[in-house]
């Protein structure tokens, strides 16, 4: 099917010093241990994140009141190499089961026994031109002007804090 517009995917990659099986296991079964608590769609503070390990399984946020919100649905499950999700969040960061941007995660062994993890978030155009661009900007981090200001401010403030994120 032809889409009237295309919006470029967001691609992020990281290398971890861990075997591929462990990388996949921590990414999926262990998601509650690392998912940043500030990135959520639940109304209340986030208590737990769960990923059901199968095609059709759900990525679920549980807030402190016990309310569950479905963030995504697993569309490919091929441990320890590949995982894909239909991202069911709209441009206002509300859960919306009709949304269909896609998150694809691949795990690749590198030469030194570590694992490279690639996340590609694509098909923003399924959300429409305005909402798709908004979601793309949100997941990629596009607030360049403000980020520049803050990078400068924190550099002045944060002496001794150590290196920032890579």
């Amino acid at each position: 099917m032809n889409q009237p517009i295309q919006i470029a995917p967001v691609h992020k990659s990281i290398r971890v010093t861990a075997p591929i099986e462990r990388a996949f296991q921590v990414f999926t079964a262990g998601i509650d241990r690392w998912w940043p608590r500030n990135h959520k769609v639940s109304a209340g503070p986030l208590a737990q994140v769960r990923l059901e390990p199968r095609v059709g399984g759900r990525w679920i946020e549980v807030d402190e009141g016990g309310a569950e919100t479905v963030v995504a649905t697993v569309t490919a499950w091929d441990p320890p190499r590949h995982l894909a999700l239909r991202w069911q969040i709209n441009a206002r960061w509300q859960a919306d089961p009709t949304m269909a941007s896609e998150v694809d995660v691949t795990f690749t062994v590198d030469d030194e026994g570590g694992t490279r993890v690639d996340v590609v978030h694509a098909k923003f155009e399924t959300m429409g031109p305005v909402d798709g661009a908004s979601m793309r900007r949100d997941v990629d981090g596009g607030w360049v002007g403000l980020l520049g200001l803050y990078a400068a401010l924190l550099q002045g403030e944060g002496e001794g804090e150590g290196a920032g994120p890579a």
Partner: protein, 104 residues
């Protein structure tokens, strides 16, 4: 949320200039106002707004008011500004490399 307030407050370029002047350390209103194209009372007003948004701290030293950057306010905003996937992958890396040492 705190970061939403901070973003709204920093939409004003003069406030960003005022904040920039605190980068090198705490300063009195008079020092902050020196060289800015607005009056000292206007600078005081901007500082109050920045304080209400959690971006600066204020203390009294005799009759002077001393302002400084409030680190927590900046960290909240930075956490929100960081990209979702960049942020998530950094957190994942920290966890996968940590847990490896703990388990057999």
């Amino acid at each position: 949320m705190a970061y939403g307030r901070a973003l709204a407050v920093l939409a004003d370029p003069t406030r960003r200039q005022v904040l920039e002047r605190l980068r090198s350390g705490p300063r009195a209103v008079k020092e902050i106002a020196a060289g800015l194209p607005v009056s000292r009372p206007a600078v005081s007003q901007h500082l109050r707004v920045l304080k209400d948004a959690g971006l600066v701290d204020e203390r009294s030293e005799g009759t002077r008011r001393i302002y400084s950057l409030r680190r927590e306010g900046l960290v909240e905003l930075r956490a929100w500004l960081d990209s979702l996937w960049g942020d998530a992958l950094e957190a994942f890396k920290a966890e996968v490399e940590k847990s490896q040492g703990e388990e057999p």
